[in-house]
Symmetry: C2
Subunit: 147 residues, 2 copies
Amino acid sequence: MQITRAADYAVRVMIHLAGLPPDTRASRADLAKAAECPEQFLSKVLQSLTHAGLVVSHRGNTGGFELSSAHRDASVLEIVEAVEGPVKLNLCLTGPHVCERQNWCPAHAVWAEAQAAMNGVLKKATITAMAEEAALVRTTLETAKWN
Amino acid sequence: MQITRAADYAVRVMIHLAGLPPDTRASRADLAKAAECPEQFLSKVLQSLTHAGLVVSHRGNTGGFELSSAHRDASVLEIVEAVEGPVKLNLCLTGPHVCERQNWCPAHAVWAEAQAAMNGVLKKATITAMAEEAALVRTTLETAKWN
DNA sequence: ACATAATCAGATGAAAGGCTCGGAATATAT
DNA sequence: ATATATTCCGAGCCTTTCATCTGATTATGT
């Protein structure tokens, strides 16, 4: 049970984009460097993000990716679901009639509660907050270097 | 990101065993029926559980599996980890020096917190409590049938 | 001794994960 | 207007993991 590499990279990229000044485009190469991940693989991840409307892509010479103004404060949960699809901790959480035991199986409620607890955390974490935090830590580390 | 089928079955089996009177053995066939899962596949799952010490196995004519008295009130988390190994929501949560970004990346804390939230729920859920709950629901459903 | 039941190593098919490559789109310079 | 450099798009490949089964082996009660 683990987040996919793609989702991890997606979150990294979104945080990076949120730290850039508005209306700034970043190329795939820049983003790959920032996220420390294989550049080509990022293509697929960025496509998922554009399809979900979280980022806007521009082709051509001055192209690149920028944060969608509508989703400037997206949550980690949104990003993960954009890449991996809806979160379901267990198969029995997929739909109403997938698991016949739903009526009486006590495990069902536990999985649901566990997923809710996790989603709560991921929903609260917004990329703007995280970008600010990252900027703060960066300057602190820089200052430490000077002494 | 999903629990494996094996872990799901393991939890089902453990709840079933916890609902049986103490010192009762159940054969693989019985457990497979109770958990509604392929019997042969259960072998592998039950082996994981015995290796982890959660259940005790007996071979031969009157053999079968029973709950280890030491782990009578095991949690769902214990069961999942017995089957899948330690839970790590993201690769960067594996060890101290796996991810170079740990010092500054704000996502790291989010993954850790999300995992902690989930683990908290799974740790609180004990099989004895769930077995009682299942028994209760069962009798309620039976009673409903009579009216 | 025999029937029964767990154990273990390994095979298999399907699916998912991680990654690559050729091609289409677009801005800019000539 | 056309060439060209730059950039994203989307189909496809390879590897690993998952879920399941097979079959031979070992242990145990009657």
